[in-house]
Symmetry: C2
Subunit: 763 residues, 2 copies
């Protein structure tokens, strides 16, 4: 590995040219003959029951093939969360959905479906379906849904779908013993993923009488399983293919439309049926980031030590269980990862309500808990008069800490280095000084910092398997097959670098495919939990190492040299002791195929089950200018610093950080789905739901504290979700530094900030 330098180099994305030239095919781009189009009839109430449908007029509309009510489709219960199947029933995701439902739990629930010859005809028919409802009370918040007399959202279980508590030490005693106790309430919003490509899937009966579904999914294999469960066929009867994807951010770690599309094709004689959600549907009726409430108390001594962290969590699940408690319940581990404390209690509830179902979203609960934690830690530092960076460094978990809540040992954990590097690179002290000049007048400036930590994959909570297959081609190129899913993040480019580096050839010698296919690619649970370069990286490494050894073994027979004397460097087979060339790998490859006596294809495949996890960390530093007359915040500068081990491809890493920071900044400043009191979403369009444009963002600065992670396959650890974990808290802390007002619910949109400043009598 040391001899090849493909890892750590900025190689061009393998798919860059196709995307620029418009050759890249996304799900809706596949020309398919005789395709039908499906549209969902969505409830116009948030909680209730459909007592009657009148489809008489709709059935007569032009182009209508069939109108489906819930009773027309299989009614197997299934869950939509993209988790690997668990052999332990109690650990499985809650199965609370069916294909269509009369029982409405969210506004826009799937109550019927039209299949027509064109999408427009389907939409026109939808408008003619008449629905009669019985209405139930609508619960928008955990508090409302937890009230004693609240109606169950799902008859089978309590609205509190999970209630857990973890921790150590005597929190009550330690809080009492502390010099100061800071208690605060935090609230985070329902952010939506707003991936460029909406949910889209098309399914048909394939030539072998099974069912093929092309879908914009992060998790083809899990999608296969959930379709199988929902429609009630053995899983092998389903084939899922994933072409290029226009983003997922966790929303496509959820199997939302695929089972319905397959069921509709089944009900239409196997004809292809496509469903293509609109932006309005995608924002309001798919998944959101959980809105979570935190009641936090921190005990802190004058010397800066932390005695206790007490955290009560109320996670708003919305109408269906989806990823459920996996998100709200996860925060304790990562609080514990960051801070030394004598005692910790992390008590979390996840509660059904009647807002949009919350699911996986980039960060998976950590942006929420870091907003709360890093806000209160900043307040604690302020309370004892310590610099917030010094405070965090003083209380950091040391290298090698065994996180007792996850049993993960935090090797190579460099939050302190991130904070130090950030202080210097961001010019923290200068900007802090600069801000002092703007503490009066209408424009107030301040700086803020926030840290985070994040896992690489789900171990030890989830199954971590991945696979890779490499095939030597006659000109010494290698086809790399993976079940891991490129979703725009550049994973395939990183994997290609890994394979090239380990085999000993150039990056241009690795051939990848846009299409993932559950029938042919090595099994991999998919793209989520920032797991891919880490978990799948092991599979690529193992397959590439096997490939190399197979080549050297064959070369040993061919050139009559012991395999251990040989290596592959820059596409040549060489003596390992001095790199003297023995053969061109391309010549070897030709012989390996076409030698009459010995010719046979060389293929190497690996499937790994990974039992480790490397915790990454990082921080955001921000300087803001608050217009206290309008509540408008200008982000003057912002920097993320990341401890993500070895950086496989710098420009791709920078792209991840830029994108994540933009999302994290918007989480802090502008984004959130809003509802009226009847549970109707109010801003499910891109005029009213505010994602930032480049004009809304300052330059996004970043730095890496690069190191070789001792457990990561190429010294790497997670980076995909990390960048958005800390910006919101850093901005909140900067606003506090600027105005003296701590605003504990984000986004810090002008109206909200203005009201908070007014309430604090700043204006």
């Amino acid at each position: 590995m040391a001899k090849n330098n493909v890892i750590g180099k900025t190689e061009q994305r393998w798919d860059a040219i196709a995307k620029v030239k418009g050759q890249a095919k996304f799900t809706a781009d596949f020309p398919i003959n005789h395709k039908l189009h499906a549209k969902i009839l969505r409830s116009t109430i948030a909680h209730g029951y459909v007592t009657a449908y009148d489809i008489t007029e709709a059935e007569q509309m032009p182009g209508v093939v069939k109108i489906f009510l819930p009773e027309d489709l299989p009614q197997n219960k299934f869950g939509t969360a993209g988790h690997p199947w668990s052999m332990v029933p109690a650990k499985r995701d809650i199965e609370d959905r069916t294909l269509l439902t009369r029982h409405v739990r969210v506004y826009g629930d799937d109550i019927a479906c039209v299949v027509a010859k064109t999408e427009l005809e389907a939409i026109r028919a939808l408008e003619k379906i008449k629905v009669t409802y019985e209405k139930y009370p609508v619960y928008l918040t955990p508090k409302a849904a937890m009230a004693d007399n609240a109606r169950r959202v799902h008859e089978e279980r309590d609205n509190v779908i999970a209630d857990t508590s973890v921790g150590y030490g005597d929190v009550a005693k330690e809080l009492k013993a502390a010099d100061y106790v800071i208690k605060e309430h935090f609230h985070t919003p329902m952010q939506q993923h707003v991936h460029m490509e909406n949910q889209v899937a098309v399914a048909w009966q394939s030539e072998d009488q099974r069912w093929t579904c092309i879908s914009s999914t992060q998790i083809p294999y899990i999608c296969r399983r959930i379709i199988g469960q929902a429609v009630g066929v053995p899983w092998s009867q389903i084939r899922v293919q994933k072409p290029f994807i226009g983003g997922g951010f966790g929303n496509k770690q959820e199997v939302i439309i695929e089972p319905l599309v397959v069921a509709l094709s089944m009900a239409c004689g196997g004809r292809p049926v496509e469903m293509n959600l609109t932006r309005e549907e995608s924002i309001a009726y798919t998944r959101t980031r959980h809105a979570i409430d935190y009641d936090l108390a921190v005990g802190v001594n004058k010397d800066g030590s932390i005695t206790a962290i007490d955290c009560n969590v109320y996670s708003n699940q919305g109408g269906y269980a989806s990823h459920g408690h996996a998100i709200g319940g996860k925060g304790g581990t990562f609080i514990n990862a960051l801070y030394k404390t004598e005692s910790l209690r992390y008590a979390a509830k996840t509660i059904y309500t009647n807002v949009a179902t919350a699911g996986a979203m980039r960060g998976y609960g950590i942006p929420q808990v870091m907003f709360a934690l890093e806000s209160i830690m900043d307040d604690a530092a302020e309370k004892i008069g310590m610099d917030p960076i010094d405070f965090r460094i003083q209380n950091r978990r040391p290298e090698g800490f065994l996180n007792t809540l996850s049993h993960v040992q935090q090797f190579n954990f460099k939050i302190d280095k991130c904070l130090q590097k950030g202080r210097e690179a961001f010019h923290w002290d200068e900007k802090l000084q600069d801000s002092l000049k703007y503490k009066t007048g209408s424009k107030r400036r301040g700086v803020g910092v926030a840290g985070f930590s994040y896992g690489s994959g789900t171990y030890p909570f989830g199954l971590e398997t991945a696979g890779a297959r490499l095939t030597l081609m006659p000109d010494a190129s290698f086809k790399l097959m993976l079940g891991a899913t490129e979703i725009g993040q550049g994973a395939d480019t990183a994997f290609s670098q890994m394979a090239a580096d380990t085999i000993g050839v150039g990056y241009d010698k690795i051939i990848r495919d846009a299409m993932s296919d559950t029938d042919i690619d090595p099994f991999d649970t998919g793209s989520y939990a920032s797991r891919q370069t880490y978990i799948t990286g092991f599979a690529v490494q193992e397959a590439a190492e096997k490939m190399k050894q197979k080549i050297l073994k064959r070369a040993s027979e061919m050139y009559d040299i012991r395999p251990e004397y040989m290596d592959i460097v820059d596409g040549n087979i060489v003596y390992s002791h001095n790199d003297q060339k023995i053969a061109d790998l391309a010549d070897f490859a030709m012989s390996s195929f076409y030698d009459m006596a010995h010719g046979r294809a060389i293929v190497a495949e690996s499937s790994v089950n990974i039992h480790n996890n490397s915790y990454a960390s990082g921080c955001t530093l921000a300087q803001v200018e608050v217009d206290i007359e309008t509540g408008q915040i200008e982000l003057l500068s912002v920097m993320n610093v990341h401890d993500s081990g070895k950086i496989i491809n710098p420009i791709l890493a920078e792209g991840q950080v830029d994108g994540g920071m933009a999302m994290g900044i918007a989480y802090g400043l502008s984004e959130g789905v809003r509802y009226n009191e009847a549970g109707k979403p109010l801003n499910n369009n891109l005029m009213d739901y505010k994602i930032p444009t480049t004009m809304d963002l300052p330059d996004l600065d970043h730095a890496f504290v690069e190191s070789e992670d001792p457990l990561g396959p190429y010294g790497n650890k997670s980076l995909g979700e990390n960048p958005l974990c800390s910006p919101a808290a850093a901005i909140r802390n900067a606003v506090k530094n600027a105005t003296g007002v701590a605003i504990n619910s984000n986004p810090l949109a002008s109206q909200h900030v203005f009201e908070q400043l007014k309430q604090a009598h700043v204006i």
Copy 2:
């Protein structure tokens, strides 16, 4: 293997339902956006040079994108024969083609090409291209092309492209010593494949900037290589995909249009370009069976022993080398395989002419040599007054004979059993007696018999590699990936049976794919030489055995039982000593994937290089009625008997035999491409080129002398091409038996028979 009974059972073709329902997609069925259409401008002379093109008017025609002359495309020399690449330059196929040519060698040669938006627009533009030729003399026969002053068809080499002689003993001396010497001349026609689906291919630049070509090919991997050579890019830059195929019969073991289609896409900015040959083009301008002339002499003694076989062969290659001498040169081995003789000389020449290029066609030279051999052997038997079956049995090669011409040892060689079984099942003796009643009058009856032998694959002459990959699915189905090519013959069904049998599950548990893909499927040289169930069968067996062992190894850890105590029978893991069930394989499969500690995918792959060959044999028995007033032959009954080892799937084997017999009967009775003296084909349409309909054929009877071949992977050996090797000679012999006239050139079409009878003074 003994416990499972999937081998030898009539399982339904896996693709049957899709084909009946119209779901099966062939090359032209793939919807592709922005597709362009290419048509070839074909020469209207058979030999000459294009001195000028005038494309002015054609370029102005509606829809024309571009008109290509030879100089507009890469002019790398390449060969079109579908052979594996040879590491030995001298053994490579002759590379005598370029993409388009000014030098015309056959009528219909590719002299220019139009790419237009529609096929019709391309055709209309073709008609406006004006061509000026310099004309050369046209050679229709080997004799003409071999004349002293004949012009070279290809400047670089003599018209005799190969001239070989093999054999043993002193033929001249042994002929002299024989009681009788029979000397005859035989001529065979240019049969054409007439596959249901014409040649069609479409190519475009794929998302990774490489080139994808979907083609109706028997040899995706070889096609990849030849495209790479012709267009001048590394082979890995080409990806060939093969969907369902409507037959190939060897014509698609030739890479005729794919390089051009890829080059055209390259020249059109990567846009998809499709070429779809017409029936007229496919019959006249692709490939044919070699027309071969034989001068044969056989020495025979009164006791029935054969002293000498002397065979001079003149194989008419047409305008380009294609498979060349591999076909005409092959016969000696299979003469030697059938008959004991003191001496043998097989001298063969392959000669360029100006008729359509001859290439691979089902039987690959053997129908020709068997027509000659089995005719003269019949005449020899007649000469000494022996029953022709007895004569063949007496002179058969014994079991285990080492064929000195191929170095293949003929284990399990059962030509004698075939002849014996045929005699009984066909009621030979009764029909012979019956025929005696019809030796006068206008309707004469007679019976005839002919034998053949045929290899299983190309060893030791060609590389024999194949691969298979099996993936366990969570419900204990198995995906089977192969580079072997299903071309309608049912190979994939046979392979699925093999995999199921070896693993220990039902046939319905094996999942195959219609699409072969050089990027992902295990390397395999393709479908030809009746090699697939034999050569690829080894790969399937090895992969399935590996899969089984991997399952048992994991099961051993899971159930704490030594792997060697366990077996898999009927989809259960059982104790091997008593078949007691240990676990359902489906439950095992779920654990194998989802066990937190050990879960990982189980995949097994194999690539084999096979160094053996099993010679199959068989015979045809026929009874004819000849209307001597018209020369019309009615085939009253016909039977093939085959020694092909174990029959994997009886109904598929019967299908192969039926199809091969129909083709072999037509070879004897009606088929042949005809030319005028300028070399223009006269009957390249289905009105004038006579393939038989079911109405033209009697019931096709068949029998198998089934046995377990000791070398075949499942006891099987070749069957695909075998059935058409002997019908033509059997019919010729029956006609001789009926009329007393030996007609030594086929087809025995009425006009030809009539003339022969007249010449023999029968009428």
